[in-house]
């Protein structure tokens, strides 16, 4: 009985925040479009502050290890010999290897510590540009064929670039104007739309149920979900991208997967990154 009451209170609270604060946002919004990213971000931060009173918001960059004490210890031990180290080394070598025209990645990205600039909305191209896209743009500028977005090579490059970008603070510009707001809204809607046979939205698990256990597995908060990619996962036995992880969650609930770097996933990354503004980049990371 007591349990049921606690659960009831929890659900009520969630009802009022309702899947990433849509009602809250429209109540407090004074923009014509009714989209108010600042209010969304504040509502989400307030929600997690209440949900995890002992966890500083910045700490969510460590995913479930921010609050799962048992798992955190194992993880810290694992970090003594980081399983992504080889990927970072390989990535450094790839980064320094010149293209056929004698130029290379350093001509596009300097020392490679540029992760904090992505994703951003590019007004000229009218779309969200991610680090992976920028890597292929750089290659195209120098006459090189694009890398496959789900391949080993690009993930090693991003592992290296994430590593040298550690400590940069996520600072996605406030989405303003038609294009950025539409991309933001699409990402937000993706995150809070129920899909698949099991009828889950991303927010069902990572907002409504954040901190709970699904069987033995704790659920991470949305804040911090973008800070630490690529990730070495023991399940994958390799480093993999954020968009690969999106697809794993999608297929868990029986929903359609999207190609990595599809417009859907770039908008999703843009929305989640704006939510995580203020958190430090700490990739690559290791996860179960």
């Amino acid at each position: 009985m007591v349990r049921t009451t606690i659960l009831g209170a929890g659900l009520l609270l969630l009802g009022s925040v309702s899947l990433v604060s849509a009602p809250l946002a429209s109540e407090t919004s004074d923009t014509n479009s009714g989209i108010d990213p600042q209010a969304d971000r504040q509502a989400l931060r307030d929600f997690y502050t209440q949900r995890f009173p002992d966890v500083p918001l910045e700490e969510h960059k460590n995913g479930v290890y921010a609050f799962d004490e048992g798992a955190r210890e194992q993880w810290l031990e694992m970090e003594d010999f980081p399983p992504y180290e080889i990927a970072v080394d390989d990535g450094a070598e790839l980064y320094e290897t010149p293209f056929a025209d004698g130029k290379g990645y350093p001509d596009c990205f300097g020392d490679g510590a540029v992760k904090g600039r992505y994703p951003h909305y590019d007004e000229v191209r009218s779309e969200v540009v991610t680090l992976e896209m920028a890597i292929n743009d750089c290659r195209a500028d120098h006459g090189e064929a694009p890398l496959a977005y789900d391949g080993a090579e690009i993930t090693r490059l991003t592992a290296y670039m994430a590593y040298v970008s550690r400590g940069q603070i996520i600072d996605v510009a406030l989405p303003e104007g038609e294009g950025p707001l539409a991309a933001y809204e699409a990402g937000k809607r993706f995150y809070s739309t129920r899909r698949g046979q099991l009828n889950f939205a991303c927010s069902s698990c990572h907002v409504q149920l954040a901190g709970n256990r699904l069987r033995a597995e704790r659920l991470s908060a949305s804040l911090g979900q973008v800070t630490h990619w690529p990730v070495y996962r023991f399940k994958w036995q390799d480093v993999g991208s954020l968009h690969l992880r999106f697809n794993e969650c999608n297929s868990q609930v029986g929903a359609e997967p999207f190609p990595p770097q599809s417009e859907e996933y770039r908008n999703l990354e843009y929305f989640l990154s704006y939510m995580s503004n203020g958190l430090a980049l700490n990739g690559p990371a290791s996860r179960k």
């Binding site: 099991l198 709970n212 256990r213 699904l214 033995a216």
Partner: protein
């Protein structure tokens, strides 16, 4: 007298046979089938959210499923909760097992009977 005895014998015998063949073995295995569906990660996977029976490593998002006959005196209400829990609570995270064809109607009946036995 003979007729009465014959009747008693007849009912006695069929009753006994019924216990063995239907109520006994058949119902027990039906409950076990319901339990298997409820526990299976690729079927009900109810354990991912509910503590129930002797299930290991249950999740904690839904209430523990205990004393179900007391909580659900009306079987139809329980069946609806499993068929489509969003009818009762549109915000719920519990999947609509019947509406979204996660489980067949027959499987849902087996799960309902099993849950009522808890």
């Amino acid at each position: 007298m003979n007729r009465l005895l014959a009747l008693i014998l007849l009912f006695g015998v069929t009753g006994w046979m019924g216990t063995q063949a239907e109520t006994g073995e058949a119902d027990l295995s039906a409950l076990e089938r319901g339990k298997a569906i409820a526990f299976d990660r690729n079927a009900g996977n109810c354990l991912s959210c509910h503590m129930m029976d002797d299930g290991e490593l249950p999740g904690n998002s839904g209430p523990p499923l205990i004393q179900m006959q007391v909580r659900f005196p009306d079987r139809a209400v329980l069946r609806q909760q499993i068929w489509d829990p969003t009818i009762r609570n549109p915000q719920t995270v519990m999947p609509p097992y019947g509406k979204n064809l996660v489980l067949s109607e027959e499987e849902i009946d087996l799960v309902v009977d099993y849950v009522l036995s808890l």
